[in-house]
């Protein structure tokens, strides 16, 4: 199942490598690093989280010509095994994607102190050879909340979460904060799909929850629900209302019906991990990416250009600069398990 990038890319990579070796002697270091990435369930073209990581990996390969070993996990038992195999195959830096790989990476990183590890969406582990990335999803959700409040005509908006876990409540809380910062009296309907992992893959339920919110008057619905979210976007589009995507840019899923997407720039994390390892700047510990670091953002492209009015655009940009200047501090649900908005 180990996949390599297409032959063309390899050839191009080798060519670039050859050229850089002519120009500078630094390429000697480049030969020493052997990066690997373990994509999680969903696969690298999931139009979401994993695809974001893949974008970052691609950028790294294009810029440095260093090929990245890849593995796509298709069931829970493969994570640890895949990581071990990467180390056996000589990987010097292994990137894990998603909190589900936390246990595996914590075990494998302890066993292989000479290999570097990095993981996205985990912030509670501790190892000298492990870097962890955490995102300030509440800040990104705040931004799209501001957009939702301005786009709503009924002053009622919705949120559909996947599995009911603190991380998803963090999205919800930031979103409510953003909405209420614009319209204090606005109603925000919140639904969680369920208490089990199947809540990430139930688009029918997602669609039904969205319809119930629309029936109660919501006209913009934000989702943080993985595959279930496709049902949210589709139900909003069917009813002529707006949806807000999450993780990667989902504006193109239903052009004209997706107001914007809350971007989690996992590509930045992937690119930075490999770049730092290549340049010898790798550091362990927890790296937090928020609005200030370009880690979370909102999506603006051709698909939603007609939906995002100048008013929305300036309001979101104002909110962003408020967060940057510290004038607005978005509450992090995970810090105290409560939402003040």
């Amino acid at each position: 199942m180990i996949k390599k990038s297409s032959l063309g890319k390899v050839v191009a990579g080798v060519a670039v490598l050859a050229m850089t070796s002519l120009i500078s002697p630094i390429s000697a270091i480049a030969n020493d690093i052997k990066p690997a990435v373990i994509f999680d369930m969903g696969g690298k073209f999931d139009k979401s989280f994993n695809e974001g990581v893949w974008e970052g990996v691609k950028k790294f390969t294009e810029e440095t010509g260093i090929e990245v070993m890849e593995f796509e996990v298709t069931n829970e038992t493969q994570r640890e095994q895949a990581m071990r195999r990467m180390v056996e195959r000589g990987a010097t830096i292994v990137l894990g994607v998603g909190f589900a790989q936390a246990d595996a990476i914590s075990k494998v990183s302890a066993e292989n102190p000479d290999t570097l590890f990095s993981i996205i969406d985990v912030g509670w582990l501790d190892a000298p050879n492990l870097r962890q990335y955490v995102f300030k999803e509440h800040e990104g959700s705040y931004l799209v909340g501001v957009a939702a409040a301005h786009a709503s005509q009924t002053n009622k908006v919705g949120f559909v979460g996947g599995m009911d876990i603190p991380l998803i409540r963090k999205f919800a809380c930031g979103y409510v904060g953003g909405v209420k910062s614009v319209t204090a009296s606005a109603d925000v309907f919140q639904n969680m799909t369920g208490p089990t992992p199947s809540a990430w893959n139930d688009p029918a339920k997602g669609a039904e929850l969205t319809r119930s919110q629309i029936d109660r008057g919501a006209d913009v619905v934000y989702h943080a629900a993985g595959g279930t979210g496709l049902g949210v976007i589709q139900a909003a589009a069917d009813s002529g209302k707006l949806a807000i995507g999450v993780d990667s840019n989902q504006n193109g899923l239903a052009p004209g019906s997706v107001l914007t997407s809350m971007l989690k720039r996992v590509d930045v994390a992937a690119y930075e991990t490999f770049m730092d390892a290549k340049n010898g700047n790798f550091s362990s510990g927890v790296t937090v990416l928020g609005v200030a670091e370009g880690g979370v953002d909102w999506a603006l492209d051709d698909n939603n250009a007609s939906l995002v009015t100048d008013k929305i655009k300036s309001a979101v940009e104002a909110a962003r600069s408020d967060i940057l200047s510290g004038k607005v501090v978005v509450h992090n649900y995970e810090s105290d398990s409560s939402c003040p908005y």
């Binding site: 696969g43 073209f45 919140q190 688009p203 929850l209």
Partner: protein, 329 residues
């Protein structure tokens, strides 16, 4: 306030019909299969396979109709596989059904990976690749009726109108099932092979062929259920998207004692519970306050257990169910 509550109740009924449709198709499929003596726990797997087939074909060809036809073909093929194992080779029917469910769960994701490289999902389907809701005429006429007009109008426009063609087919399937099983010679023979296959055999009717016909019909109905999930109610395939609906349908079938109308009512009840669970989350009800949605979500299962434990009559399965028929020589 009352008007608002009434509207919410009507909208919940509308959601009930949407949520019940796949259950109805599957439960009718189950009736055909089990009435002929073949246990069918592969409803879930066949529904998943056909949901995948429908979404893939709709995505590749751009036609929901081709998707539906493909879904039915795939589902019938797996029904025949089930039949081949259980009827021709007299295998264990539960094991065969379970095997199909496991196969479906893995196969859909693997093939989905290979064709679309989107983590086992199919691409998002646009409006023209799906069965869209049909708005019925005469809404204005009904709304303008004196006295009962407004409330009848809201029921008509919200609950009855605005469903896609497959929803109508599901209700039609109940009528057809009832008619075929209890009003035709074919139905009489089908029920007979499930009760006393020796008698049918003595009368010169092939038990195997009758049972094959029953599982083929079950396959067709399951195919429609799957297509409903991925190209009508939903807009694409997502791994494990049936989320246990096949088992709920099986429960509804047992609940309704293998009879079409009671089974329909059981499906509607399960659909209603699911619909209100989605709607009651985080809503303050008068007097009661907030209701825990976990409690509502667990209701269908608890109800099934309680009712099957004998509080509401006894479920009497067809006598020869699960028993392969060995022709005497």
């Amino acid at each position: 306030m009352m008007a608002e509550l009434w509207l919410q109740f009507v909208l919940a009924l509308d959601a009930t019909i949407r949520m019940s449709t796949p259950l109805i198709f599957c439960a009718m499929a189950g009736i055909f299969s089990e009435r002929s003596g073949i246990i069918d726990i592969s409803l879930e797997g066949k529904m998943l396979l056909s949901a995948f087939a429908a979404a893939s074909l709709a995505a590749l060809t751009g036609s929901a109709m081709i998707g539906l036809v493909g879904a039915i073909i795939i589902s019938v093929l797996f029904s025949l596989l089930h039949g081949f194992a259980c009827i021709t080779h007299k295998g264990n029917q539960v094991v065969s059904g379970l095997a199909i469910n496991i196969l479906a769960s893995g196969l859909t994701v693997t093939i989905g990976f290979a064709i679309f490289s989107q983590g086992g999902q199919t691409p998002f389907l646009g409006r023209e690749q799906r069965f869209m809701p049909l708005e019925l005429p005469f809404i204005e006429v009904i709304e303008s009726l004196p006295i009962i007009g407004p409330s009848l109008g809201v029921i008509y426009s919200e609950v009855i109108s605005g469903h896609n063609i497959l929803v109508w087919l599901a209700f039609l399937a109940v009528i057809v099932t009832g008619y075929v099983l209890f009003r035709t010679t074919f139905g009489l023979r089908l029920r007979a092979v499930g009760e006393k296959p020796e008698a049918v055999d003595t009368a010169g009717v092939s038990v195997s062929w009758m049972r094959y016909k029953a599982v083929i019909i079950a396959g067709i109905l399951c195919g429609m259920a799957g297509a409903y999930l991925s190209v009508a109610h939903g807009g694409g395939f997502v791994r494990e998207m049936t989320a246990g609906k096949g088992y709920i349908a099986l429960a509804a079938m047992i609940f309704g004692n293998w009879r079409p109308v009671p089974v329909l009512l059981a499906c509607l009840m399960f659909g209603f519970l699911e619909a209100i669970a989605a709607r009651l989350q985080g809503v303050d009800l008068p007097v009661i306050g907030q209701v825990s949605t976990d409690l509502i979500l667990v209701l269908p299962y608890v109800l099934t257990v309680i009712l099957l434990a004998g509080f509401v009559g006894k479920a009497v399965p067809p006598r020869a169910i699960g028993v392969p028929y060995a022709k005497e020589r």
